[in-house]
């Protein structure tokens, strides 16, 4: 056996196991991100079900209104916007003077 051959083999093995480690870590983080999105989807389903069950926007409880982005508009009315994290779609409604 040549001098240094054992060391070389060991180093190659180390590099390969490094590569395996990085592949596993990137796979894991990808799966975690995907799962976080699925969990958010569950929460979004809960929000949308809540909003659709209450039917009248004037009856929406505070904790649900917090999930809307609000824009002050003229005449004292407020526009609420709900944007989906999953699909990016949004819907708006107006509340306040003359709006519903």
């Amino acid at each position: 056996m040549k001098k240094g051959e054992i060391l070389l083999e060991a180093l190659i093995f180390l590099i390969l196991s490094f590569i395996l480690f990085f592949v596993v870590i990137s796979f894991v983080s990808h799966m975690m991100e995907r799962q976080a999105l699925i969990e958010k989807g569950g929460r979004e389903l809960s929000d949308l079900t809540s909003i659709s069950n209450i039917l009248n926007y004037n009856d929406l409880p505070e904790s649900l209104l917090k999930k809307f982005t609000t824009y002050e508009s003229s005449g004292g009315s407020t526009t609420y916007e709900y944007r989906s994290i999953i699909t990016g779609e949004s819907f708006k409604f107006k509340k306040g003077n003359g709006g519903n």
């Binding site: 060391l7 596993v24 809960s46 079900t49 809540s50 069950n53 209450i54």
Partner: protein
């Protein structure tokens, strides 16, 4: 030569521990993902099921010590009963009345478990596990809680 072998063994040990670590991380992630996946699926199934039946109907919520019932005023009356076990497990089942039931009277009378066992049937189990399930009233809103996810199912007018 001996030193070379010793150094090589050290490198092998590091590499093996890295492989071991990768495998444990992978198995841990797969377990946690499958648990969370199961939880999301359970939640969505239960929510969509109850939501389809409660929508637009009147309802009453009756609480007892070990269980609570959400009664939905359809013909026949449909109920969702959560039974709490002392070991932290919850059982959610759907029950259907065999007789004509007035849900307002049921609330006033506070009938016990025997009444529901005798006069309701179709005990389909929707969920059994150790996630925390609750029906609650918050002001006029009916809330379904699944762990920390809070869903408004309806409003008493």
């Amino acid at each position: 030569m001996v030193i070379e072998i010793l150094v090589a063994l050290g490198i092998y040990a590091i590499a093996l521990s890295m492989i071991y670590e990768s495998i444990t991380v992978l198995s841990r992630t797969i377990t946690s993902i499958s648990n969370s996946q199961k939880q999301v699926e359970n939640f969505e199934d239960i929510l969509l099921y109850i939501n389809s039946e409660i929508k637009g109907n009147d309802f009453e919520l009756i609480h007892y010590n070990q269980w609570s019932i959400l009664l939905i005023d359809t013909n026949p009356v449909i109920g969702y009963q959560i039974i709490y076990y002392s070991d932290g497990y919850c059982n959610l089942r759907r029950i259907v009345a065999n007789i004509k039931v007035d849900i307002k009277k049921l609330k006033e009378g506070r009938y016990g478990l025997k009444y529901f066992n005798d006069n309701f049937s179709g005990f389909n189990r929707l969920y059994f596990g150790n996630d925390k399930l609750f029906f609650e009233m918050e002001d006029n809103y009916l809330i379904f809680k699944f762990n920390d996810i809070k869903t408004y199912l309806g409003i008493h007018r």
